[in-house]
């Protein structure tokens, strides 16, 4: 992972220092000094060894752009992303799962068709494109919501008023992410529940005299949700990085926007640290998925 992280960005032939100055006339000595300061004058093997040593000590270096420690920048960006991604992940998982249950249980009715087709439409759209459309419609044309950022520029509100202001700013990006991920949950839940609906134990449950709703909630849904739990946890890991495009569209000061900005540099230490974080998130949430699974399904042995 570390190896990949390091060389991936080295493969791209760029000049990080050069792009810092954007073609301005800077003495060659300044450039050389910067090169030495960032260690870019060393051979690549030496750079890699430095990288390994420092990463092991959780030192991710200084950002090329802000000259601040990379880790501090990331820590500053985490809350914004967690709030945005957390809320929209939970919303899309809950609404999508519920929609999938209704669609499967009432399959081939107008309910099924309208749920499946509408979520599919959003699922098929690229999330940044959906974001831009919503942005143009609600922020530019209608003017209901702000165009970007996390707080109103120049405001110095505190406490609840600040929170409301942030929520107001979060509405459009959260809506975009929720809509974009809704379809996946709906489709997975629907197909998983349709599989379960053919099982004999549902006939048995009906034979016992259970109401249709109880057959669904007590016997069908718990079995059908197993793959959805896995999907939710894994998505949570990916969504952290998947918000890059949406955060960039709405200038949301989170990890995604930090990534987009760092790519423009390229701000190598920043990118390395971000990608390390994203990979760690995926691994952690996979682990959470496995643990939840063994807790929900008695057939999976404790790990």
């Amino acid at each position: 992972m570390l190896v990949f992280n390091f060389f991936l960005f080295r493969v791209v032939q760029t000049d990080p220092i050069g792009s810092l100055f954007r073609g301005r006339n800077v003495p060659q000595s300044t450039i050389d000094n910067l090169r030495v300061a960032f260690g870019l004058d060393q051979p690549i093997g030496t750079q890699f060894l430095y990288y390994l040593r420092e990463t092991a000590q959780l030192n991710f270096g200084l950002s090329y752009q802000s000259r601040q420690p990379v880790w501090d920048e990331i820590v500053r960006a985490i809350p914004a992303t967690l709030a945005l991604v957390g809320i929209s992940s939970i919303l899309s998982a809950v609404i999508g799962t519920f929609g999938g249950i209704v669609a499967a249980w009432r399959r081939n009715t107008w309910k099924d068709h309208s749920i499946t087709s509408s979520t599919m439409v959003f699922y098929s759209m690229p999330d940044f494109w959906l974001g831009m459309i919503l942005l143009v419609l609600f922020a530019v044309v209608l003017g209901w919501f702000p165009v970007g950022g996390i707080t109103t520029a120049g405001s110095n509100e505190t406490g609840l008023a600040r929170l409301i202001d942030q929520a107001y700013h979060m509405f459009l990006p959260a809506l975009t992410l929720t809509l974009a991920y809704l379809g996946e949950y709906t489709l997975v839940t629907r197909s998983s529940l349709l599989d379960v609906m053919g099982e004999d134990y549902l006939t048995v449950a009906r034979a016992k005299g259970l109401r249709d709703v109880r057959v669904r909630n007590r016997h069908a849904v718990p079995n059908a949700l197993l793959p959805v739990v896995t999907l939710t946890a894994i998505n949570f890991g990916f969504v952290l990085s998947g918000a890059i495009a949406v955060e960039a569209v709405y200038s949301w000061p989170g990890l995604g926007k930090a990534t987009a900005d760092a790519i423009r540099g390229p701000d190598l230490p920043m990118l390395q640290a971000l990608f390390l974080l994203f990979s760690a998130a995926v691994i952690v949430f996979n682990l959470i998925a496995d643990i939840t699974y063994s807790w929900l399904d008695p057939r999976v042995e404790e790990i």
Binding site: D200, Y201, V204, A207, K208, N223
Partner: protein
């Protein structure tokens, strides 16, 4: 018959799949008196399981069911959804085939046995339900601790016992056993059969036993009905039908089992050639005639009706 617990009249069941009508049961009438037992035999696809599921109206939506099913004095096909739920598992319960996924994999078997009790309020509270689960498990020969097990932790025979315990949960009057011994090895089969037999005596159960295994039925049931292509082709006292079938199909089924002690029959059990007819595409006349060793011209014009073939016996064959 007034003392019949289950009475079926002219029952026809037609599945509709992809715009095609598939008749699975075609005009079946049968009666089981209180405390009696009837075995329903036939090959796969003859409609016997469809018939069993129709008694509690468990067939998929869109299935066409006509005729009359009277269970415990109630007209099942005319019941409201609430009335139907009240009849399910109390008037009649089904022992499902344990080899299938008849048990929910993520619930303990104890919870699954207790579920209908609290639903139909046959027990006062959860503690009483737990006690009854333990009592039922003991009765079917399983230790009380098994209540905490999940289905995948049990063997095939144990699962079948759990399904029997589950069926008994609300003291049903009619017990429908749908292939309860299929996919079990012979020793376990015999144990399960003996258990069902004991329970029947002990609780005065009325039993509808469904299987393709004629020898099982003659052991477990007083009367026997043989189904072919959605109709009953022969009915009568179990041993008589088995030993001395009137319908050529019954004789072919009976002959498929080797006679113990008869070396010749063990070496060459006589099977029945050909395949069962497709329900959607039955041959004209007697549906059995393409496979019947005694078929002749009289079998072709019309499908024979059931007619009296002896004391308390009937068969649907032109030769009777």
């Amino acid at each position: 018959m007034s003392d019949a617990l289950l009475s079926i009249r002219d029952l026809s069941i037609t599945y509709h799949s992809q715009g095609r009508a598939v008749p699975a049961v075609r005009g079946v009438s049968l009666d089981i008196e209180k405390g009696g037992s009837l075995g329903l035999a036939g090959e796969s696809g003859c409609g016997k399981s469809t018939l069993a599921n129709s008694i509690l109206r468990l067939l998929p939506a869109g299935t066409e069911v006509t005729g009359q099913i009277t269970l415990d004095g109630k007209e099942v096909l005319g019941l409201s959804p609430g009335g139907l739920r009240a009849v399910r598992w109390t008037a009649g319960a089904i022992v499902f085939q344990g080899a299938l996924h008849a048990l929910n994999p993520v619930q303990t078997v104890g919870d699954q046995i207790a579920e209908p009790m609290s639903l139909h309020r046959t027990v006062a509270n959860d503690d009483a339900a737990k006690d009854r689960v333990v009592e039922l498990l003991r009765r079917v020969g399983l230790p009380a601790a098994r209540a905490e097990s999940y289905p995948h932790e049990l063997s095939g025979g144990q699962r079948q016992r759990v399904l029997i315990a589950m069926a008994l949960a609300c003291d049903p009057h009619l017990l429908i056993a749908d292939e309860p011994t299929t996919a079990l090895d012979l020793m376990v089969q015999a144990q399960v059969l003996a258990l069902l037999d004991d329970l029947k005596e002990e609780r005065n159960l009325t039993l509808l036993f469904i299987t393709h295994d004629l020898s099982v039925l003659t052991y477990a049931c007083e009367r026997l009905a043989v189904m072919y292509a959605g109709r009953i082709v022969e009915e009568g006292p179990a041993w008589e039908v088995f030993e001395n079938g009137s319908h050529p199909y019954t004789r072919a089924l009976a002959a498929a089992f080797p006679t113990i002690g008869d070396v010749g029959s063990r070496m060459a059990p006589s099977g029945l050639g050909g395949d069962p007819p497709t329900p959607g595409d039955l041959p004209g006349g007697c549906p059995f005639h393409p496979r019947c060793p005694l078929a002749h011209d009289a079998c072709l014009p019309a499908e024979p009706e059931l007619r009296i073939s002896g004391e308390a016996r009937s068969a649907a064959c032109v030769l009777v």
